[in-house]
Symmetry: C2
Subunit: 134 residues, 2 copies
DNA sequence: GCGTCTTGCGGGCATATGCCCGTAACCATC
DNA sequence: GATGGTTACGGGCATATGCCCGCAAGACGC
């Protein structure tokens, strides 16, 4: 009678909450969470990027990106300047943002290693492969 | 340079958002989302259940459960009565709640089948197995 | 150059999620 | 039966997420 655990969606969501908590705990010393880490990383990778483009790359709604980025701007990790367009806002890392990102990377790697330790390299690969299809 | 897609956590979260959107769309005709479906199902399974116990079973914070249940109570799908304790609130399905649940099940099964169609039975099994460890 | 269509953003609305704190009720012990 | 620890909840605070609407700026066709 595993009726309660049969839903793929809820299984994924539950696992997502658990894993998120794990990563958030790992990143806590730097004061950012895993979602913010992902944003900083994307901005760093792009150098300069608009909200819309950042939304596309993270697969998040543009308005979600706007709000999430605002938090990081308020905390001084990102700064928002004018883009090529007068409509567009362009995000980039601040010094503090780069420092936070640099400090986060080893912590994040630790969390990644934890996951691989739990799943094994094969399990982790299989997870990635399966999630990729969804 | 797959630096952006390397994070297990964000992969899971992204997949969670995609899959959630899929299930939410499937359930839309009934007017509930997948999280609410899961709650209704748990309450149905339990018959009567306290917020704390429901939180334990869904692996959600008790306060989250309280708020999510409040939405369903407001919509008349759940009702909240006194529990054994005078502290405790006991949730149960209303008629409308049961009707919504009954109407949802086939839609949910459709979404489940979609996922199995995408992953294949083996892939789906593997997903479940891997998520179980996280 | 003007009107129209598209694009980039912010803001409002609703839900979801977790943490912490305070209050009320219960329980075990002296 | 008063005291102190535990348990169940609600409410506040903050972030996350998606949808829709409206506005401003660009792009395009005539």
């Amino acid at each position: 009678m595993r009726q309660r655990t049969d839903c793929y969606c809820n299984e994924i969501r539950k696992a997502g909450r658990r894993v998120t908590a794990r990563y958030d705990a790992a990143l806590a010393p730097v004061g950012i969470n895993i979602g913010q880490f992902a944003l900083l990383r994307q901005v760093n990778h792009a150098g300069e990027i608009s909200l819309t483009e950042l939304g596309r790359r993270t697969e998040l709604d543009r308005s979600t990106i706007g709000r999430n980025a605002r938090v990081l701007v308020r905390e001084g990790l990102l700064e928002s300047g004018p883009g090529e367009d007068r409509r567009e806002a362009s995000l980039r890392l601040t010094e503090a943002g780069r420092a936070a990102l640099d400090a986060s990377v080893p912590l994040w790697e630790g969390a990644q290693a934890e996951i691989e330790g739990i799943l094994g390299v094969e399990g982790a690969r299989s997870l990635r492969r399966v999630l990729h299809h969804l």
